[in-house]
């Protein structure tokens, strides 16, 4: 896909996020919207995957370590063809395959159940080790929140990944700067994030704007050249493209009401119109 196509797709995925969280009357829009470009890039550009063969043993893997942003991943998977887009409206309902947090047993395309923060990265490390062990060349991607890296297990996993030289692992940190209780720097600062991963012997790539496809493209291309595990630390905007959600910690885990929903969809319509004029 070219950049414009990726941008259009990201906007459609954002609509799916808003639709699903609004229908569920619950869920986590803020961090889903900050990571929408990286979800889009991974599933439409970067990863070796096939929606018709979601269990292929040689596929690339993705673990959403920040599992609460499942709406972002679900919308991406739906638009990529893993399951019907209409399913998004069943998010968090009894009987739905779209659980509040990702579940490997329920949803096509989900490579690991996740949501308890700090655990997904270890599983991704295990997958990357499994590839090396079996001399397979699939790659493993995992997305962490910037608040999530306050969990000690993240650093247990990072130490192990570097010690085992897992150059097929890409750890992405969504640095939107906000967690439930507020600004991450004020709650319990994880900064400097890049220096920490460097100290753990990662190849670190800083992305100034993680909502920009050119910058993501450069980062993921560089990641393929690294000879050790990669950490992509990308600055993003929480609640991106929804006027009243941007940079608001309060929209971490809250659903828009009907009125807010209408505004949000109007915001995305404007983005779409702007993209169509390009």
């Amino acid at each position: 896909m070219n950049k414009l196509e990726l941008q259009k797709m990201a906007n459609e995925i954002r609509k799916g996020i808003i639709d699903s969280v609004h229908a569920a009357k619950a869920g986590h829009p803020g961090g889903s919207l900050s990571a929408t470009e990286v979800f889009t890039y991974l599933y439409f550009e970067e990863m070796n995957i096939d929606p018709k063969d979601p269990k292929n043993p040689d596929r690339d893997r993705f673990v959403l370590s920040k599992g609460h942003t499942a709406p972002g991943l679900y919308s991406t998977l739906a638009h990529r063809g893993y399951f019907p887009v209409e399913d998004l409206l069943t998010l968090r309902q009894i009987g739905s395959h779209l659980q509040g947090h990702p579940c490997i047993a329920h949803t096509p395309g989900i490579d690991m159940s996740s949501g308890s923060l700090g655990q997904g990265i270890s599983v991704a490390v295990g997958m990357a080790l499994g590839a090396k062990h079996q001399k397979k060349d699939f790659r493993v991607y995992t997305l962490l929140g910037d608040g999530e890296i306050q969990e000690g297990q993240v650093w247990e996993a990072a130490m192990f990944a570097a010690a085992k030289n897992l150059d097929n692992l890409v750890v992405i940190v969504d640095n939107n700067g906000l967690q439930i209780d507020g600004n991450i720097a004020e709650v319990n600062s994880p900064y400097p994030i890049d220096k920490k991963f460097e100290a753990f012997n990662f190849h670190v790539i800083n992305v100034e704007d993680g909502n920009d496809f050119d910058q993501l493209d450069a980062a993921f291309k560089e990641a393929r050249t690294a000879d050790k595990p990669v950490a992509i630390v990308m600055k993003t905007v929480k609640g991106k493209n929804i006027s009243f959600m941007e940079n608001q910690a309060g929209w971490h885990g809250k659903a828009p009401n009907d009125e807010e929903y209408a505004i949000a969809m109007e915001d995305l319509k404007k983005v779409e119109e702007a993209l169509c004029q390009k």
């Binding site: 690991m112 308890s116 997958m127 297990q153």
Partner: protein, 313 residues
């Protein structure tokens, strides 16, 4: 008196892994800096390329095992019971149990027979913790023969398994030719009509010794070995309750939530009879030689005998 062969089930674990490793290329072993103690070093020596030391990081150990299992490997993740079931409980629940992954947890140094290291390392809660995880199979073998059979059976089944092993050398009691191990099937080691002693792990031997002492007093005790705590052999337990009417459970674990708890749950709903739970009585352990501790906590043959006598009177 002839010499009784004794071996710690952690030794059996290491030996069984090394044996199984010969047949199965997809078996990998992980440890958390305790390979010498958990005896996974035996496997490491035989198959260094299939052994991964995660260092002192048990939470990550469980996650890495989970990830490996999704790529088609069969990981045995090993550390002490305290850290496998205690420290890493939530990793086991969410990263292994919930996705129902094919991870085998080899937990050694369970119970007070850890000995001198004392309470911080004597895990008397692991069975209770693991029992609450849906889909988790829990096996607590009583001796070398059973431990090796359990490791093999765990490999052969699909899904998460918690294997509980001990540090202390214990007598080999399952060396009869007709011994057969089947997950979920208890074994009646001795018939009896006055009381049924249901035991697990190293306490199975204590139960057998107690039955002999009881026999001298004219008490005819049935002895049942429950090696699989989950899924538990409900049928055998209910049958014992109906035929014998009095049940005693024996385990090197808290009386809360372990074998005693599991047996009471089965019986209260199916065949309510008086039950005496023998185990660690809701206290922490302490330092001391393992054999002396088992005596002090009433988990040796004599201790079990005395508790059963008191229960029957």
């Amino acid at each position: 008196m002839s010499e009784v062969k004794k071996i710690a089930t952690r030794e059996s674990y290491g030996n069984a892994l090394a044996e199984l490793g010969k047949e199965h290329d997809n078996l990998v072993v992980l440890d958390a800096d305790l390979a010498g103690a958990t005896k996974t070093a035996t496997f490491k020596k035989a198959f260094p390329d299939r052994f991964y030391d995660c260092g002192i990081a048990e939470s990550n150990l469980m996650g890495v095992a989970a990830g490996l299992s999704t790529t088609g490997l069969v990981p045995f993740a090993s550390t002490f019971a305290m850290f496998a079931a205690g420290r890493a409980f939530e990793q086991v629940r969410n990263s292994i149990g919930y996705p129902h992954l094919n991870v085998k947890i080899g937990a050694t140094h369970a119970g007070i027979s850890v000995g001198e290291d004392g309470a911080t390392h004597q895990c008397n809660e692991d069975i209770a913790l693991m029992r609450t995880i849906p889909g988790m199979t829990i096996i607590n073998p009583s001796d070398d023969v059973e431990a090796k059979a359990a490791v093999k059976a765990a490999y052969e089944m699909e899904g998460p398994v918690y294997l509980r092993f001990g540090r202390l050398a214990v007598p080999v009691i399952n060396d009869g030719e007709d011994y057969k191990f089947e997950i979920g099937k208890g074994v009646t080691l001795r018939e009896g009509k006055d009381v049924a002693i249901i035991a697990t792990g190293l306490c199975v031997n204590s139960a057998l010794e107690a039955a002999k002492l009881l026999e001298a007093d004219g008490v005819d005790a049935r002895v049942i070995n429950i090696h699989t705590i989950k899924p538990i052999d409900e049928e055998l337990i209910i049958k014992a309750a109906k035929e014998v009417g009095k049940i005693v459970t024996v385990e090197e674990h808290s009386i809360i939530g372990g074998l005693g708890g599991a047996v009471c749950e089965v019986l209260s709903e199916n065949a309510p009879v008086p039950v005496k739970r023998i185990g660690v009585n809701d206290v922490f352990g302490e330092s001391g030689p393992a054999v002396k501790l088992l005596e002090k906590y009433g988990l040796d043959g004599k201790g079990v005998y005395e508790s059963v006598k008191a229960f029957l009177n």
